[in-house]
Subunit: 401 residues, 2 copies
DNA sequence: GCATTATGTTGCCCTAGCCAACAAATAGAT
DNA sequence: ATCTATTTGTTGGCTAGGGCAACATAATGC
């Protein structure tokens, strides 16, 4: 049994963590709301917030205007000087972002790389971008760490990339490489898992505890699972490979060589090709699918919707989620014929489980993944505000010329 | 956000709950081990255990014999007088058990009913058996409540059975019916979920946090999911219907009318029929499958193993579990040709996820489900030992003549 | 019998959250 | 303007639960 006893310090840590989380999530929140949400005493909240202010994590301000009776409650908000870096390796470019506590994207910079860049190249690009961006940050900025969304399987404990078909990486100790290069704590996670938790916190999944997230991109279909409010990671962090759910006897293989899976049968490329588009982004694809379609394309779309429905139904039976979120080009499929999709899901799912499930398109937004990955970097700080060390911006290692 | 602040009382409750859980799980444990496991101070453990003794939940004893140096540590064990009832409705009989704190099955009685008994019949049978068994219990026995394992979909919050194909029940408010009849708090859960958590606590899943449990019975295939140590229930408690995972385009339907699912393609009845057995239990089926089989049966077995492997691979890709437990006749399939099964799983699962996954047969034991269901009844007590009310045996309502 | 070791017991300390009383700042009524 | 009602901030003291240290106790092993 893992559970351990709690003492006074744990209690304080828990409450401090809770308050900081609430402030972080809301960006700015009144002390009275904190008392309401936590159920703690006014004076306790006062004390906790004072601690957070001493730690340099939050500030208190007089509220701008009041609309209610009674003494106006002080406003607690996150300081601007605490931030983290997000390094997002992509197919042919790497993006680095500075994200502040509170989830604000302070800066974002992207640099092209070769297609299928090797890990060293990504690390080099990342530290270069970080060095550039660091110059623009106030010197008093303190960095909590680095979060890395990986388009592939991630071993969270080892901080390594197990397999990323998109990047053509196998067993890359990316976390260690970045920590050595930057001198900052680095945490990796699968992009689907990060997106799903970002959708829950800030996007279309707000307020839900049981979420299935499906993302359709260029390189395949990824996913994320949130159950009971927690991201499901499995034993080594590979859980949530929802693109590889088998739904048919078809021999068509997906990027991992598995036949008859969702990813093998519902392919963005097939749509692009059928529509004779060259290189469309999701918006272009979406609008191209809106008009009257040639019968051949129409049949393809219907087939893809049906397969998608089958996969969703399968997941609904397994997970009994409150909501299924569709992102990337999967949301386009939903928009084209949501009736067909929903109906097909109904037909293939169990009575009880399908009753209340909603199918929605994700809020998306390209910043969402960055914000999700920032949560990774902030996790330690949010979990133990008093003891987690922050790094000064000038202590971040520079690239060697 | 659900999380709330904690105060000193919560702290005490947490620690008290933790200690009681440890004693409950071990049945009997020394105070020194409690200090080690909880990380709390000797004196604190002393105080907590004293509280539990005052509450009449545990007793302290001098240890029998010592083998180590140093003053022998006092032994803390669960009292015999705290128990719960488990009511297990079956296809043509209902079983009632008295299970003590610590997971000991004190008494067990079974009564035949009609096939597909209606809910009233089950309730009547249950209160009759409980009344009989209560006479044999010491008068000072205190009852924590009633746990009910249901072979079907359960809405945990409403304490109702959504759909139980085996019993032919649809939307039965079984929890309410039993509470009215007995005057005791009743909790329901799906039998697969209960079995899986029982396997984790006491059976083949001991020490694992991420478990997929598959049970093959007469009426179909049920399942249970444990991730990160928690049972996955989904939004309304219907999660874990792993028998209805789709694995093929076959039109053969399962008990819920879904085609091509695990339950539709891997059927106990088919084996029984092929072997020309009449009505065999799992042991008989197991031994019947051991010898040299006619080619036709052999092919059937292989087909079933392959389908089972496909389903397991699917689940491994989705969940990345540490262990897959096979119970019921599925464990027979494993025993016949585990090499084939494991190999087929490898072929259809993703690299990372399959690396460390173990496939095992469950510990089973007919009492395991009862012990699992008892956990349900004890849950409130274990969660808040100081405040949870226990019921005297003579306050349990008697059946009306 | 003595040293060593581990645990139980006791009294005291410390701190985190609660509480009550009071102060302060607003809206709305007069 | 003034007064009331309402809400929140502030302060000092209280309380209880966990830690700690010192001592007592009971085992092993020489």
């Amino acid at each position: 049994m893992r559970a351990t006893g709690s003492n006074r310090e744990d209690l304080r840590q828990h409450n401090l963590s809770l308050v900081l989380r609430l402030v972080h999530r809301a960006g700015s929140i009144s002390r009275s709301e904190l008392t309401r949400l936590t159920g703690l005493n006014r004076s306790t909240i006062s004390d906790l917030v004072a601690d957070l202010v001493t730690l340099g994590l939050t500030i208190e301000r007089e509220p701008e205007s009041s609309t209610r009776v009674g003494r106006p409650s002080l406003n607690v908000s996150v300081v601007a000087e605490v931030a983290c870096f997000v390094i997002s390796p992509g197919y042919h470019s790497t993006t680095v972002a500075v994200v502040g506590l509170g989830g604000r994207v302070i800066a974002k910079r992207r640099k092209s790389t070769r297609i299928n860049p090797n890990p060293d190249e990504v690390v080099e690009t990342a530290i270069e971008l970080i060095a550039q961006m660091s110059r623009d940050l106030p010197t008093k900025t303190r960095i909590a760490g680095v979060g890395v969304p990986v388009p592939g399987q991630v071993n969270i404990l080892q901080k390594s990339v197990r397999f990323a078909p998109h990047l053509n990486w196998v067993d890359v100790p990316l976390g260690q490489m970045l920590e050595d290069a930057l001198g900052l704590p680095v945490r990796l996670d699968n992009d689907g898992s990060l997106s799903s938790s970002a959708e829950r916190d800030f996007g279309a999944g707000k307020g839900f505890d049981d979420i299935i997230y499906l993302f359709g991109g260029d390189g395949g279909i990824g996913g994320g699972i949130i159950m009971g409010g927690n991201v499901i990671r499995g034993s080594t962090g590979y859980a949530g490979e929802l693109g590889h759910v088998r739904i048919s006897d078809s021999r068509t293989e997906d990027s991992a060589g598995l036949p008859g899976t969702l990813e093998a049968l519902v392919r963005r490329e097939d749509l692009i090709e059928a529509l004779r588009l060259d290189d469309a982004d999701d918006d272009e694809l979406h609008s191209a699918l809106q008009g009257k379609l040639p019968p051949k394309v129409s049949r393809l779309v219907e087939r893809q919707i049906d397969y998608l429905a089958l996969a969703i139904a399968n997941l609904v039976n397994i997970f009994n989620p409150q909501v299924v979120l569709l992102a990337g080009f999967l949301s386009a499929l939903y928009d084209i014929d949501d009736y067909r999709l929903v109906n097909q899901v109904r037909l293939s799912s169990l009575n009880g489980a399908r009753e209340r499930v909603q199918i929605r398109t994700a809020a998306l937004g390209s910043n969402l993944l960055l914000v999700g990955a920032a949560e990774l970097a902030f996790a330690a700080l949010l979990n133990d505000p008093a003891e987690t060390k922050l790094f000064r911006i000038r202590d971040v290692k520079k690239p060697k010329p």
